[in-house]
Amino acid sequence: MSEFDLNHVEPIYIDVLTELGNIGAGNAATSLAQMLNTQVKMTVPKVELLDFDKIGEAMGGEEQIMAGIYLLVEGDITGSIMFLLDERSAHLLTSKLMGTTPTEGELSEMEASALKEIGNIVTGAYLNSLAAITNLTITESIPDLTVDMAGAILSVPAIQFGMVGDKILFIQTGFTGDEELNAFFLLVPDLPSYDKMLKALGVIQ
């Protein structure tokens, strides 16, 4: 029986998960800045328990077009992690990486592959820092990328939460750079993984 219950989350857990999000995203921002040779700042992470029907709103509407890079998390912690960005930010990031001018509309194959790589690196940095502080082994699968409506992309993690409760736990961090970037992380540990993380940090016995 898992101690962590999504229907009754104590404030201290939220604080701890916020801090984890902070550290993870901080590391990811650093790796992004190095990769793009530009300044990347992040916004204060928000941890929220949202009802399913509020998910789309949190991302600016269910039909907002976003790019989602999704990886399965394996090891001591299992679940998934998603790096989400709006279409404009996706073009901006890939153009910076490839040294081209930002395009519009559908991503080219080249851009999609660059974006996957960006997702791979930033989520890797995020997970590495979580592994370091919790002293747990965390590995990740190869990434897959989808550009589609926010609601459709987020249905994937939402369904994972749906198997254990009626809410989704968002650890959401935004980035800003020289130019504004709209990007988020969404870490979706399986329920037993919360216990492991919180135990590893000494928050629960």
Binding site: D53, G56, G151, V156, D166
Partner: protein, 161 residues
């Protein structure tokens, strides 16, 4: 056009003409549109998971294909619809990400579609049309007056089934 009634994720609602009803950004979830062909009473459900009996925490009946379809039928009957005159159209059940994993989680779109079809068969409700599977999200609009089920996807022409 009049405002559409909005159905959220893991939600279901009744729709009486001339109103229309919509749910936005279906991914692996399935949108189930039902209508009584005689008095035009309709409804739409947005289900997330195939089977309530496989999950311990299953109090939200709109979340599951089996209980969600049954509940939609129930509220439509309360509004005067007859089950024997109901027909269905469904959309969604996409596989949004592609992994070399045969985990049940990755197949959830297909399983949702199967779960809905199974329940419809059990209830004797005929499935008239579907736009399911593949790898993209869908927004649907349903008009019980005509039975039109409009499907919108990013970068694809609007289609009515």
């Amino acid at each position: 056009m009049a405002d559409l009634i909005k159905v959220g994720m893991a939600d279901l609602k009744l729709c009486i003409p001339p109103a229309g009803i919509t749910t936005l950004g279906l991914g692996s979830c399935v949108g189930v549109a039902l209508r009584d062909t005689v008095n035009k009473v309709g409804g739409l459900a947005h289900v997330m998971l195939p089977d309530s009996t496989a999950i311990r925490n299953n109090s939200n009946i709109a979340k599951f294909a089996d209980t969600g379809v049954a509940e939609l039928v129930r509220i439509m009957e309360q509004a005067g619809a007859k089950r024997s005159r109901m027909v269905a159209k469904i959309a969604g059940g996409a596989k949004m990400f592609n992994f070399n994993s045969d985990s049940a989680m990755m197949q959830v779109g297909d399983r949702n579609v199967e779960g809905v079809k199974k329940k419809l068969r059990e209830l004797g409700i005929r499935l008239l049309a579907e736009d399911t599977g593949l790898n993209f999200g869908r927004t649907v609009e349903f008009f019980p007056e005509t039975g039109d089920f409009v499907i919108k996807a990013v970068g694809k022409p609007v289609k009515t089934i």
